[in-house]
């Protein structure tokens, strides 16, 4: 059973529209993360969360919001989508401590195209 799932898997949006990407994890991990993956940039952290009700800015938060309503769910919200946000988005979960427990478990990704 997949422990981190994402929906939708593919999304086409229009410029200026609102997009919500959803992530669910059954690992019972405290931390969850949103990344985008682009050629030449690798995985870049957008937002992350330490637990229900918390969200923190990652390295590239501009243009994105996040919501963590429960331990299991973490959403990424693009209020006004732009073509520069066309990318593949990955959600991950982790125990949330450092060192050996910093390992993260990734979802299958969402391919977003903004026209």
């Amino acid at each position: 059973e997949a422990a981190v799932t994402q929906s939708p898997r593919n999304k086409v949006a229009v410029t200026g529209g609102k997009v919500t990407l959803s992530c669910n994890q059954t690992n019972n991990h405290n931390n969850m993360y949103w990344y985008r993956q682009d050629t030449g940039h690798g995985l870049r952290l957008i937002h992350y969360s330490y637990g229900a009700g918390s969200t923190e800015k990652g390295d590239i938060p501009d243009g994105y919001k996040a919501s963590r309503p429960s331990q299991e769910n973490f959403s990424l919200i693009l209020e006004l989508a732009t073509p520069s946000q066309t990318s593949v988005y990955f959600c991950a979960s982790g125990e949330g401590t450092g060192g050996n427990y910093a390992e993260q478990f990734f979802g299958p990704g969402t391919r977003l195209t903004v026209l």
Partner: protein
């Protein structure tokens, strides 16, 4: 702040030749934990191997890496490349106390392409 460098964006090899993907890192903390993730096309990125012990070789699925704190390196190696090894490989760093905000610091990734 902490950083990870993967100098090669693309490595192209002929099947059967040895693989070496470079990873160096920078951190002010002595207790560095290094990870290699592999991302196959149409799959999720997943952990390949990890280490925190200086000068100790760690192996998994035919790949191996040795953390060298003296040179801040954690290069990924394999003796003989297979077509199925074609994937994107990420090196990542954490420190013992999670002072990087409980985050993994990723390099930009190296795309390994193995040709027949």
């Amino acid at each position: 702040g902490d950083s990870v460098t993967q100098k090669e964006g693309l490595v192209t090899l002929t099947e059967g030749l040895p693989v070496m993907l470079n990873c160096t890192y920078q951190t002010i903390y002595s207790n560095a934990f290094l990870f290699w993730y592999v991302h196959y096309l149409n799959e999720s990125p997943r952990l390949l191997l990890k280490s925190s012990t200086d000068n100790k070789r760690t192996e998994h699925q035919g790949f191996h890496a040795t953390l060298h704190k003296s040179s801040s390196s954690f290069h990924l190696q394999k003796s003989s490349a297979q077509l199925s090894d074609s994937a994107l490989y990420y090196c990542a760093l954490s420190d013992l106390y999670g002072s990087s905000g409980n985050k993994l610091i990723f390099g930009i990734g190296t795309l390994l392409s193995v040709k027949p």
